[in-house]
Amino acid sequence: MAESHGGAKGPAAGAHTEADGGHHGGGFPPFESSTFASQLVSLAIFFVLLYVIVSKLALPKVGGAIEARQNKIEGDLAEAQALKDQSEAALKAYEGELASARSRAQAIGNESRDKANAQADAERKALEEQLAAKLAEAEKTIASTRTTAMSNVRGIAADAAGQIVQQLTGVIPDAASVNAAVDASLKG
């Protein structure tokens, strides 16, 4: 193909403006039927080649890579979900354990407090009984002492009354009448 004017070396890089050398008789190349057979044969060869490469090698490879990635992502998500479930279960178990421990501690506290209360009550009761017994004994002692003292007072009073009567009258009174008079005045 002869270039007519030393070529187009203009700044428009996209342009190549060679003049047609007249090899094709000025016909319009896409409609030149003499080239059709060659083009169809090359198209058939290369398109079949491309189809075979695409269907046997390219698509399985790229599709496999995409699928592998998809599976990996799904697997990872499932694993993350499983781990999350696991940790949630652990948390729940921990909380359950905590609650039961707390309730057990409360029960133990209640029990020991009740026991301590009961013991204290029993001790107090025993002490009170002891004290009451001592008090009763002491009262009894006081009463007997008072009775003894009172009977001594009567004797002393009778003696004193006999002496007083003797001093005043010079007569020794009869003991029975003195006693009766003392008793009457003690009662009086």
Binding site: M1, S4, H5, A8, G10, P11, A12, A13, G14, A15, H16, T17, E18, A19, D20, H23, H24, F28, P29, P30, F31, E32, S34, T35, F36, A37, S38, Q39, L40, V41, S42, L43, A44, I45, F46, F47, L49, L50, Y51, I53, V54, S55, L57, A58, L59, K61, V62, G63, G64, A65, I66, A68, R69, K72
Partner: protein
């Protein structure tokens, strides 16, 4: 200075492979760029590793995979995944060869009608053969829309059948015409810059700024078109295959 926007579409035989009848079958520049596209796709898909955490190249490969897969699922349903290799091959072949073709001085495979017709007919016959093999005569119920009154049904059926058989035409010409027109427009605007400069001197070079800016903008648009036409081709393939998989309208 003459702009020749057609020259870039020339088919140059590089060496002869053989003969079919009186036709010479040559390995042409077009064949070379088909080979380049196949090589780039293979490299992208196979040499990009299969790591758990993808690198850049592997990300591109996986994005292409997911993109085509989701396109099929949304248009033809899960059953359409049967045709995943076909649609992936079509999409990647057209997309990569278009993107390679947009590099200056390269050749664009899909700027030739015979190539896009070949691909469109491949889709057409895949739909037809799979549709009939899977659904039997029920496949042809796609020509009979529901809820159409009896008296205009023949007309509607005629239109449906016509549109079915015109599918490969529109399917192929859409891609071909887009690529052809885009490349011609790019060439014309870019050539205009050089033409202004060489014929008018300094004033021409200054004046060439405008077409240059336009060329840059057009170039960006063509990159979009290169991808978009591949996507359109693939999604139309999905829609046509959906007819074969689910013939009820």
């Amino acid at each position: 200075m003459k702009i020749d926007p057609i020259h870039q579409f020339n088919i140059e035989p590089l060496f002869t492979i053989g003969h079919i009848g009186n036709q010479t079958i040559a390995f042409t520049n077009s064949s070379l760029y088909m080979l380049v596209a196949v090589a780039i796709i293979s490299l992208l898909m196979l040499a990009s590793g299969a790591q758990l955490i993808p690198g850049r190249l592997q990300s591109v490969a996986e994005i292409s995979y997911e993109f085509v897969a989701s396109t099929i699922r949304s248009t033809a349903g899960a059953e359409g995944m049967k045709f995943f290799p076909l649609i992936f091959s079509l999409f990647m072949f057209i997309c990569v060869s278009n993107l390679v073709g947009i590099i200056p001085y390269t050749f664009t495979v899909s700027s030739h009608l015979i190539v896009t017709v070949g691909l469109a007919l491949l889709v057409f016959f895949t739909v037809l053969i799979y549709g009939v093999a899977k659904n039997g005569l029920k496949f042809f119920s796609i020509f009979v829309p529901h809820g159409v009154p009896g008296y205009i049904l023949p007309l509607v059926m005629f239109i449906e059948i016509l549109s079915f058989f015109l599918r490969p035409v529109s399917h192929s010409i859409r891609l071909f015409a887009n690529m052809l027109a885009g490349h011609i427009a790019l060439k014309v605007f870019a050539g205009f810059v050089a033409m202004l400069g060489f014929s008018l001197g300094a004033i021409g070079w200054v004046g060439g700024v405008l077409p240059l800016a336009l060329t840059v903008a057009l170039y960006a648009l063509e990159i979009l078109v290169a991808f978009l036409q591949a996507y359109v081709f693939a999604i139309l393939t999905c829609i046509y295959l959906n007819d074969a998989i689910h013939p009820g309208h």
